[in-house]
Amino acid sequence: MGTILLKNIQNPNSTDIEEYKKTGGYTSLSKAIGMEPQQIIDEVKKAGLKGRGGAGFPVAMKWTFAAADPKFPKYLLCNADEGEPGTFKDRPILEKNPHILIEGMVISGYALKAEYGYIYLRGEYPAAKHILNKAIQQAYDNNLLGENILGKGITFHLAVHQGAGAYICGEETALIESLEGDRGQPRIKPPFPVNVGAFSKPTVVNNVETLSNLPYIIEVGGEAYASIGTPDCPGPKLYCVSGHVEKPGVYELPMGTKLKDIIYTHCGGIKGGKKLKAVIPGGISTPVLPPEKIDCPMDFVNMPKHGSMLGSGAVIVMDESVCLVKVCHRALKFFEHESCGKCTPCREGTGWLSAILGRIEQGHGAEEDIELLLSVAGNMLGKTFCPLGDGAAGVVQNFIKHFRPEFEEHIKAKKCTVYG
């Protein structure tokens, strides 16, 4: 496949526009501006591009809704909030290949007839802020952003809007609220952002990685793009692997690469030759898998068939030394910290689950606590305002589903039996 999204990032000057242009950067933009906006959307449809943030929504469909709305101006928002624990795949694009994102955004903005773009960048990436701002200025200086892009009378303005530490702002309507200067609480849908989004105007929110695919799609055409990956989920995918592997990091591989292969072929297997205990395949909100279930293609369509989800493609590998009760507790502490507080089940439930797990972890668990955990999680699942609550409930349910004996032992022994 060759690197597409992370092309040239070994070059220490990869963030410079001249370096980017040297390897063909911004030629796709020239080509795109020569096309009709609808043609671009058609290519994206042929490419079968699905959102890379975690939801996997067909990009062309989202764009079609927004393009059809009569209201102007339209907004294109890049979701660079990358907050899902385990996820660090957008960071190399933001910090080492910013121009691919900028080029992707201008192409997308043109296709959508959107005049304004914002990169909603998480507050935890201060280096990326400076790099992006510099790259954006370079783009303006080179007439690739602004009022008269490439002299063709096309307008697209881009600016960075920095978040301030709220995972929930990765949810598209909460992101929009945060952009508008409000608390990052998700909005009632419908109306959907494609019709009523930022400042009440049609808005498309796409992930960093998603938008960064645009230059390549324009370069080779949708059909050729779709030859990478799987028929249901084409294209390259950035998988980020962390935890107990020999070579953690970001790997650009075809969509649908098997989880087993990612861990053992690309990442060198379990660190120190230890035994694999559990894998979280797509970020903390995706169902944890036991070792016997990792022979699954990592894409949006196949993962659900194997009992989990692709999510952001953030693989967390845990070996035999890890106490899963502790991991489960830490995950719930995360959800408790990040719950926005809007809806009852998540606001109260994440705290309750976290407290029970903490108690179990400290050795004060009771036998009925496991059923209680499942009951509370069950009262959350499907009842919350947004998927954060589902994620939290799902963690508890899936950890207990696959690793119940460890929980029971921990309770009975009144301490962690993994550490001995």
Partner: protein, 154 residues
């Protein structure tokens, strides 16, 4: 009251948005820098400048973990202890910070040099454990190199 420089900075920021309210998050960052924290004074300054009710400004400011509502040390340590960092030893680093600098999570060291907050995944999972000190990323932390790294921040 904001300095003239801050007022100018916020005015430039404001131009990027269709209305004043949208400049609130970036303006709060400017206020935090100038006042050292988002004190009532800081909130009032932002509220007046952007013509936003001050209770609203405070409601927004307190929602986000990276706005500080109390005084910070000279250098802010933002250490991640989420799953990937935790299973690679981040908690030992928390203990180390306590024992070496007298730093509790959410607190300030007695000499005012450092404050420390626990982070929820800063996107450095592949190079865990990791932390931000002010705007600098520090990855692949060990009990050995942590104090060396922090030595640069006086």
């Amino acid at each position: 009251m904001f300095t003239d420089a801050s007022i100018k900075e916020i005015a430039l920021i404001r131009e990027k948005y269709p209305n004043s309210r949208a400049a609130l998050l970036p303006a709060l960052y400017v206020a935090q820098r100038e006042f050292g924290q988002l004190s009532p004074e800081a909130y009032e300054a932002v509220a007046d400048l952007l013509n936003v009710p001050k209770a609203t400004a405070r409601g927004v400011g307190t929602f986000y973990a990276m706005y500080k509502q109390k005084p910070m040390g000279r250098h802010l340590i933002q250490l991640c202890t989420n799953v990937s960092c935790m299973i690679l030893g981040a908690e030992k680093l928390v203990d180390l910070l306590k024992n070496t600098y007298g730093l509790e999570p959410g607190g300030v060291s007695p000499d005012g040099r450092f404050s420390m907050v626990i982070m929820e995944c800063i996107g450095a999972c592949g190079t865990a454990p990791a932390m931000l000190v002010n705007d600098d990323f520090h990855e692949n932390l060990t009990e050995k190199n942590l104090t060396e790294i922090l030595g640069k921040y006086q």
